[in-house]
Symmetry: C2
Subunit: 399 residues, 2 copies
């Protein structure tokens, strides 16, 4: 027996991961990946950026950089965040190796084994994996169509007074697909007054609203004047450039920044400089704005196709959100139905999604499933939804 | 008071780091950075690689990849490692975000707070930072000119029977500059028989031998038929491509690989795919071999210049190693001399290095210092060494 840590001895590969590895038939229609569509990456822009690099840019990109980030990117990113109303002057910015690393750094800096933390249910699976790896006790709070349930949050704050973190994904939630209302955001902030707790505001999808009129809803809590608890604002280049670049960021108060910077020294010393040079040029090129317009239209169209398919084929008793941005539709099945059973049938039929309990920090609630419309070829969306609807119908018929 | 973890409450920025931040005068001659020279990066090769990328390569590079690595790179890297005699078929390979992440993953997988581990003294500072971050107890074993002291290692194994890891950097050690003899490597492996301990063999500099006749010495312990304890072989693209790419690897047994892959899911999900695409093309291009020949010659010339300067200017009682590869010369001062005092004088004089205690896991032993010849412009090496020699002489005169 190898001398593994307590933590490693409890590490398990997930059932869903194993099931997914079966779904590799080349003809399978996949709604499972929470990733951008390959055809939507800014490849022409990337080529232009590469061609514009000086020899010195390339040398800098090949070299180690400072732990908190490549200085020109810290500057251009600060400008970009300031334009969204974020308080960059009163905070510090650190570039992370994907936004997942920001969550991981915050886990390192705040969490001891058995610490209580408050999370949404459903919750981003990457965050679940980080919090588990620090052996935190995730206390879950349900969501409705405009955000976390405030009375439940209030109860949880009362019941777990030592809770160290509250982790929220308020904008085009993964997997729930929703965006928080202004009222919900205000109510959350109100409840945090006087609590010794840190709010992690994770915002990887905020730029991907489908309709300009929803732009005000994407205003981060971190951008409001009142910060009753320290807010760690986490963002990512994954949805606005490419996840293969592994670039994210964390905007937070000096005291938290200091600890995260020290922690990052032992994680990977610095984030890939080469990628930071490219991202900096992209931000400064003026090409991001037009690119985002293109992305918003493309994802809105895909979401529309999926919605129409759902409306056409889903049986009674199945509900879903109307996505106003992001990548996801969260489908709620009749009370006692098990999404993993449906997944098995759907895989046989030729379509795949992620069953709900993957996103439940306790791995239990499974009468729900996530459909991602971001990565699937447009002309397969309708057929894929039909296969899943058939799987659900045949499961209903069994009852 | 923010609710930091126990770990974070004990995080401290190092005195040396703070001192270094003072040494930013543009005219200062720096021997402090353990990084390649900017002019030696394979920029022409990088350009050729980028030009050769298909649209599909670029899309793949912009996308998430599998956690263990981009499959074509796993394949080309396995070929490269097999050519060095490493047992790739009997082990698994995982691409890491720099080799530091490999150490960090192994820390996560093996270390609980207060676990004993055995490390060299002096020791790679990145590894010290990882082991501290997991609150391990580092038990140190001194080095001489051909490796770890075997009798001391034997004593330590006896005294700390629960020690989980032995961390070694046998090839062109950072900072000690030495390479292990075959006898030392054999003696280490002999001592590990029957111990429930894992050997971390860290090999970032092995390719940078100055003389072809030393090539046999760079044969990894992992490549010997007998593996008395599980050996985790850690390598890096930092010295053979560029550290700004943040690409490293870990070759290890299936059981350890499985845990590391799960741990990596919570670190950063995957290493930057774009960089992996570039590294794969570089390995397959046939350009690595000629590039390494160029590098070896360039670093050998720099080492020679530094050695001649040391021989010319250093006062009696100062000793150093004759580097046969890598980036470093380790300078040992007279018994009671303090390298930090000399560093202050040298900075005033216009040269900077890293004082020895930075590399002592206990932060104590300081009658030694590290000179890196890798990054300094060739024509500054002589002048820089003279400044340091003057600082040492004036310190001797004070006694």
């Amino acid at each position: 027996m190898l001398p593994f840590s307590r933590n490693a001895r409890s590490m398990r590969t997930s059932e869903i991961r194993d099931l997914m590895s079966l779904a590799t038939r080349p003809d399978i229609i996949s709604f499972s990946g929470g990733m951008p569509n390959n055809d939507l990456f800014p490849i022409a822009e990337l080529d232009e950026i590469y061609q514009s690099l000086s020899n010195k840019d390339k040398q800098t990109g090949m070299q180690y950089g400072p732990t908190p980030g490549y200085p020109p990117l810290l500057e251009s990113l600060a400008d970009y965040l300031a334009s969204k109303g974020l308080p960059v002057a009163a905070n510090r910015l650190i570039i992370t190796t994907g936004s997942l690393q920001a969550i991981s750094l915050l886990g390192k800096v705040f969490l001891d084994p058995d610490d209580d933390i408050l999370v949404e249910n459903p919750c981003f699976i990457g965050a679940i994996s980080v919090f588990k790896s620090y052996q935190a006790c995730m206390r879950t709070i349900a969501l409705d169509e405009d955000g976390i349930l405030i009375t439940e949050l209030e109860k949880a704050l009362h019941r777990y007074p030592g809770a160290k973190l509250l982790y929220l994904t308020p904008y085009f939630h993964n997997p729930a697909g929703i965006i928080y209302s202004d009222e919900k955001k205000k109510a959350v902030l109100n409840l945090l007054h006087g609590k010794n707790l840190v709010l992690l505001e994770d915002d990887p999808y905020g730029e991907l609203y489908f309709d300009e009129k929803d732009l005000p809803l994407t205003m981060p809590m971190k951008a409001t004047a009142d910060e009753p608890a320290p807010i760690c604002y986490i963002g990512s280049f994954s949805k606005i450039f490419g996840p293969g670049m592994r670039l994210g960021w964390l905007l937070t108060a000096q005291e938290i920044y200091d600890k995260c910077e020290l922690a990052k020294q032992s994680f990977d010393a610095c984030t890939a400089t080469f990628n930071q040079v490219l991202a900096d040029k992209f931000l400064r090129s003026g090409k991001l704005g037009p690119y985002l317009s293109r992305l918003r239209q493309a994802y809105a169209r895909r979401a529309g196709i999926m919605l129409r398919a759902l409306q056409t084929c889903m049986p009674e008793g199945v509900r879903w959100n109307m996505p106003r941005g992001g990548f996801y539709i969260w489908v709620q099945l009749p009370q006692k139905m098990d999404a993993t059973e449906i997944l098995k049938k759907a895989i046989t039929g030729g379509a795949v999604f992620v069953s709900g309990k993957t996103f439940d920090p306790h791995g239990v609630r499974n009468n729900c499933l996530r459909l991602s419309f971001s990565h699937t070829p447009e002309n397969q969306i309708d057929a894929g939804v039909r296969i899943i609807a058939e799987a659900i119908k045949s499961q209903i018929a069994l009852k």
